[in-house]
Symmetry: C2
Subunit: 394 residues, 2 copies
């Protein structure tokens, strides 16, 4: 074995999506970019809000010295305090500077948090369907995923959750608004989850940490995105600016620890050590400086909402079963046949690229992203009609 066995296996497992990706490139070359509809990856085509460009320009023109040096690992105090004020306003809770740790995006933040929390053999509950690379964010640090099914609407199934909560479960990871389903958890169900976790924490004699991964928090369509901080004390929020500022290539996000977490100080200190030893050291300095300058600016939600409506209406009209996304920029319809990979292959034959639900541990579904120009989405619609006809659901 020339390289790590785990990595060799991961290369092989990721080869399905990689092959799809390569097939997409082949098709673009063969049929032209305007004729291939790649809805597989959530890489928004929209530009960041003008405030981002203005902030970058301000920083680039500044004569301030020392702005590219090391700062304390968790980031600049001014940037962290800016985040504290956001949470104060939203939740009424007073976070200290130390509760906020800037990270290289949400994926970096999740690795830092699970490195901090997990001992070998610990389990983390995840709700199917989910972004399957989460599994690595546990196994990298000796933990394992404990997979729990959601209900038919992709919301919490409290019976399943209660059954899964056993000693050794160190954390529960949720993602709201959800990738791939578009579901947003409401206040009532978060409160109910909080109560369940409080009861189980008491029973087990240690706090079960609720980790909420929320990069789509500011992309919701007419629903609230309530904070877990107001539903459960032992909680940690992970987020990034990749989606709401449309800067996924820049890797900037943060960890926010609830000031009411029983292990608040240990988690603060542990996150700093984890940042360092995993090799992140600190989040890119320039993006830490951009964040407070940008204030509350976000990408324009109008095209997202239009795209969602356009696709959802067309898909359901065609006969696809689909939950209407309340947030994020994905739809997760039911595949007309059980074998979602087979279905995805048929779509590919029509130059329509999507991801099979099995890649999110929910076979029988498929995911499509709608973070593209509305005209592009428009031009993709006839292909869904064709697919529906092909599978006799139209």
């Amino acid at each position: 074995m020339p390289i790590s066995k785990n990595i060799t296996a991961a290369i092989q497992n990721s080869s399905v999506i990689r092959k799809m990706f390569e097939e997409g490139i082949r098709r673009v070359k063969l049929y032209g970019e305007e004729n291939v509809f790649d809805l597989s990856i959530g890489n928004p085509v929209f530009e960041p809000p003008p405030e981002v460009k203005q902030a970058l320009l301000t920083i680039a023109q500044s004569d301030e010295k020392g702005t590219h040096r090391y700062m304390p690992n968790p980031g600049y105090t001014t940037s962290r305090d800016f985040i504290c004020r956001l949470y104060q306003k939203e939740t009424g809770l007073s976070l200290a500077t130390e509760d906020v740790v800037f990270t290289t995006g949400a994926a970096g933040a999740l690795n830092v948090i699970f490195k901090t929390l997990l001992d070998p053999g610990n389990e983390v509950i995840v709700l199917m369907p989910y972004f399957s690379e989460y599994d690595f964010y546990f196994s990298n640090h000796g933990g394992t995923a404990k997979r729990v099914d959601t209900n038919v609407h992709f919301h919490f199934d409290f019976d399943n959750l209660e059954k899964a909560l056993a000693p050794g479960v160190k954390a529960v990871l949720i993602n709201t608004p959800n990738n791939p389903t578009g579901v947003v958890y409401n206040k009532e169900e978060l409160d109910q989850l909080g109560k369940l976790l409080s009861r189980k924490s008491k029973e087990f004699g240690y706090p079960i940490t609720l980790v909420s991964d929320e990069p789509y928090k500011n992309l919701s369509y007419g629903v609230d995105t309530p904070s877990i901080f107001n539903s459960y004390d032992n909680s940690i929020i992970i987020t990034s600016y990749s989606k709401d500022l449309a800067i996924p290539g820049e890797r900037i996000g943060y960890i926010a620890i609830s000031p009411n977490h029983e292990d608040r100080t240990q988690i603060q200190n542990g996150a700093v050590v984890s940042l360092r030893i995993l090799g992140f050291i600190n989040a890119p300095a320039i993006w830490q400086r951009v964040i407070p300058l940008v204030g509350n600016a976000k990408v324009d939600l109008k095209p997202y909402r239009e795209n969602r409506d356009l696709l959802y209406d067309h898909l359901t009209k065609c006969g696809f079963e689909c939950t209407k996304a309340e947030g994020g920029f994905y739809l997760f319809p039911k595949s007309p046949i059980e074998d979602d990979r087979e279905f995805i292959k048929s779509a590919q034959e029509l130059n329509l690229l999507m991801v099979p639900g099995s890649a999110f541990r929910r076979p029988g579904y498929f995911r499509l992203a709608f973070c593209f120009e509305t005209d592009f989405i428009h031009r993709s619609l006839p292909l869904f009609t064709k697919l529906a006809e092909q599978y006799g659901i139209a």
Copy 2:
């Protein structure tokens, strides 16, 4: 145990340096910044070369679209090809785009490479003294450090190396120019190391990878810094722009795989998977764009050389035993007493902050950084005189 046992231990172990750091802050508050000489951390006070500022400005002013989006995980092709051309020029070897993987600094790169290479139980040879956080870059991924002593001049001790090279050793990690010693390995010793590793690879039936961590490569004072690519085929170079562009807070570096590495393709693919699953995803987009625009610009070496000479001359005049650094920005003199922590405490009492050699797994020495204004270094000299008098070596 509220958080991970390993992390709890790491917090406790790092508390020595943390306490020093806090003591430094306390002293700055008490005695004023101009009266405390913190030579403990390698955080250059110099500004990046003007080309960096110009490149940032060019990027900030550009109307090009999509520059903050996801790109392929290992980085932009144009930026990677820029690196390939540098190696072509230096070593005569033709690296392919795929041989270069951009990373969030060298610490990120090292984690990516050891995640890629190591199976649980594998060993990595490291040469004492060394930056002790290397240990985590192995243990994070199931590996362990196999510590080998250098000779009295901090160069390779080939007898020790040959003894340590046993089956299960997957890699050898070197750091040149060296932190903390300032040693630069010359062509002859790198060739000899290459020959030894070739022989042992053949003997063990798998390639032993030589990983060279080279963030100080462009900071040398009158000596060559030969490439390991010309001394050994199964080699990987890790570097960052933190030091030679003075942008350590920005986290930009890369992995370069020798095109002659037996496992070249597996390592390329493995590094991409590791980038993803460790949560790095890709190096910050904006800094990947800056690198080719900056060309060959580097920080001005004049103050570094002046500082080195000033400190080295003064220290040896005072009676300290010290190797003259040929590269990097550290000196690693012998402590006048065996207990280096005790010595560091005495220095601290004089408001002179440095790091004990035991933090680099070579007790009886101490490390001081010289990446500061020459005037600042100048003003610190009387404190070394005082220390020498205090310990009766003057």
